[in-house]
Symmetry: C2
C-alpha cells in the first residue's frame, strides 16, 4: 500500500460504513471494492478490517448475518443501521473539517491557489 497507516487511522470505520451505505456487503468484497476504487493504491489489512467490524457492531452501527455462498467460503454480510448512517454522516462532516484544518497547517506558505 502506498498510504501510511497513520494517515488512514481513524478513517477505517468511515470507509467501511460508506461502502455499506451503498449496499450490504462482506469483508472480502468490501476490500476488493476499496482496491478497485483506489486503483490498487490502498487496501485494508484483514485484521484491521475485521477489528473495525467488531467495533462497528458493538457500537450498533452495523448488523451482520450469514449469507449464501455462491462460490467460495461462507460469508458474513453486514448492513448499516440508522445509527451507522448517522455516524457516517457526522464522520463525513468531520473529515471535511479536518481536511481544511490540516491543509491550513501543512500547506506551504506561498502555495495558495
Amino acid at each position: 500500500m502506498s498510504i501510511a497507516s497513520d494517515l488512514i487511522r481513524g478513517h477505517t470505520e468511515t470507509i467501511v460504513l460508506a461502502q455499506l451505505s451503498e449496499r450490504d456487503s462482506y469483508g472480502y468484497e468490501i476490500n476488493k471494492a476499496i482496491q478497485q476504487k483506489t486503483d490498487g493504491l490502498f487496501e485494508l489489512k484483514e485484521a484491521t478490517l475485521y477489528s473495525a467490524f467488531r467495533r462497528l457492531e458493538q457500537g450498533q452501527c452495523v448488523k451482520s448475518y450469514w449469507g449464501g455462498e455462491d462460490t467460495g467460503a461462507r460469508r458474513r454480510y453486514y448492513s448499516i443501521t440508522p445509527v451507522g448512517a448517522a455516524v457516517l454522516a457526522q464522520n463525513r462532516i468531520d473529515w471535511h473539517e479536518a481536511k481544511e484544518i490540516i491543509d491550513k497547517l501543512i500547506i506551504a506558505e506561498g502555495a495558495l491557489e
Copy 2:
C-alpha cells in the same frame, strides 16, 4: 478540540515541520501559532507536541538550542534541517495523495461536485 485524535495522528510531525519551515520556533509558540491559524479549532496537546519534537530530533529532522527568554521561562528553540525539509516535502505529497484516496472512499455516491 474539535478534531479527533485519530484524524490528526500521523500529521503532528508534518505540522511541526511546516511551522519550522517558516522560522525557528519553540513549543509554546508553535502551539499558539497553530491555534491562531485554525481559529482555535485545533491545538496540539503538550505531551503530543514534545514527543513529536523528540522523534523529529532523533530522526535528524530538527536541531534544538536554548534561546533567550524575553518574558517567561527558558525556551528551547528548534530549527528544521535539510533532512527535515525533505521529509516535509514528501509528507506534503503524501497528504495530497491520502486526501484524494480518502475522498474517493468516503464521499457519498451522488455527491460529486
